[in-house]
């Protein structure tokens, strides 16, 4: 295998650094004036993972499963970005889906709050797929 994912170590370092900072800043954040985001409710029932786990690890799930789909052709994965969008996209007054990365929508609300840029939607669709009739 010619591909080496060497950023694991790097990311562990960055995460520890952030955790360290988080501990130091905890008292300040506790008194923050910034309102916690109002996240739109999902359409479907139960999420694929408990909320607490999704909040912390969703990017790892997505990254792991994207490699399975792109490189190995496995399309029955549990954590797919399309799955997120199917459940979490909302419709506007005229019944049209609103892009999930629009301000106030599911992905963007939290990412604005956390000040983390999302790179998914440079390429990925931002609304649920229009279901096509599959030709036999």
């Amino acid at each position: 295998m010619a591909r080496i994912g060497g950023n694991q170590l790097c990311r562990t370092g960055i995460v520890s650094l952030f955790l360290g900072c988080a501990v130091l800043w905890a008292p300040v954040v506790g008194h923050s004036d910034v309102a916690t985001p109002k996240i739109p409710a999902a359409q479907g029932g139960q999420c694929v993972e408990p909320v607490e786990i999704m909040r912390r690890d969703h990017f790892d799930f997505l990254k792991h499963d994207r490699d399975k789909t792109v490189h190995e052709g496995i399309r029955t994965i549990k954590h797919s970005l399309a799955g997120c969008i199917d459940c979490h996209a909302t419709k506007n007054a005229s019944g049209q889906f609103v892009p999930i990365n629009a301000e106030g929508e599911f992905c963007q609300t939290c990412h604005t709050y956390a000040a983390v840029k999302i790179d998914c939607f440079t390429c990925h669709a931002t609304v649920p797929a229009v279901k096509m009739s599959q030709s036999p």
Binding site: D60, R75, A125
Partner: protein, 250 residues
């Protein structure tokens, strides 16, 4: 995140069947037994294997000059909407009209990624974003493509496009965006659902049937049997790329 539980017995069993199927297919012991179904049934949650090698046969005698049904179908399927800038707009498949310099014979054909067995684009890619799936489909992993365009320098068919501007309204099954390279995926999302690529269906719908899709490894299948019967060639055969797309009549 790796799932911590050991593989279920069902998964193990499926893997066994897939490998067994591959072995039998290679030996080709049982004519008439359709091994394809067996492997396809297991392929949903198992990695694709080299039991299959997907490919195309282009019969130029059936390809109509002036017809671009395959091109429109590809554009629709993958949401390739041009910006009115032909030099930078993406084209995954194009119609090429040929005229023999000596005899004046005219041929029309579609040209797209040839899904080489030895793809120069994969050789040169610094990050491994250009890769060849086990079943022979050559793809770009756009998550790790840095947009260096070395693959476009290396491709002998000009089959690749670089995305020169921001895109919106992409299709769910065909993610594509600015700053990375893309090309024909052989409609991998349809192949994984056991369907033929959009261009192939469109050509048949137009009544031409110039494109035949199938498994090069399946001797009884439509593609391998057509290639065994017809006189075909690969483009730029001097480069010995062993392409998965074969042409008749050029």
């Amino acid at each position: 995140m790796s799932q911590s539980q050991p593989p279920s017995s069902a998964t193990t069993r499926r893997r066994f069947f897939t490998q067994a199927g591959a072995g039998v297919a290679l030996l080709a012991l049982a004519p008439g037994v359709r091994l394809a179904e067996l492997a396809v049934a297991a392929s949903d949650d198992e990695p694709v294997t080299d039991a299959h090698r997907w490919g195309l046969w282009v019969d130029t005698s059936r390809c109509a000059s002036g017809c671009d049904a395959c091109v429109s179908a590809c554009n629709d399927e993958h949401g390739l909407t041009g910006m009115g800038r032909p030099e930078t707009d993406a084209q995954w498949i194009r119609k090429v009209d040929l005229k023999d310099e000596t005899t004046g014979r005219e041929v029309s054909l579609p040209l797209m990624c040839q899904h080489c067995e030895e793809p120069p684009c994969v050789d040169v890619c610094p990050t491994g974003a250009s890769f060849r799936r086990e079943d022979g489909i050559v793809l770009v992993d756009k998550h790790i493509c840095i947009g260096c365009r070395y693959c476009m320098m290396a491709c002998p068919f000009h089959a690749r496009s670089f995305i020169h501007e921001d895109l919106s309204g992409q299709k769910t099954h065909s993610p594509r965006g600015k700053g990375v390279v893309e090309s024909c995926t052989l409609c991998v999302h349809r192949v994984d659902e056991n369907r033929a690529p959009a261009c192939v269906d469109a050509c048949a719908d137009a009544g031409h049937h110039a494109l035949v899709f199938g498994d090069l490894n399946d001797a009884q299948g439509p593609l391998a049997s057509a290639l065994a019967r017809e006189e075909t060639d690969e483009l730029r055969s001097d480069l010995k790329l062993n392409t998965a797309v074969r042409y008749s009549g050029v």
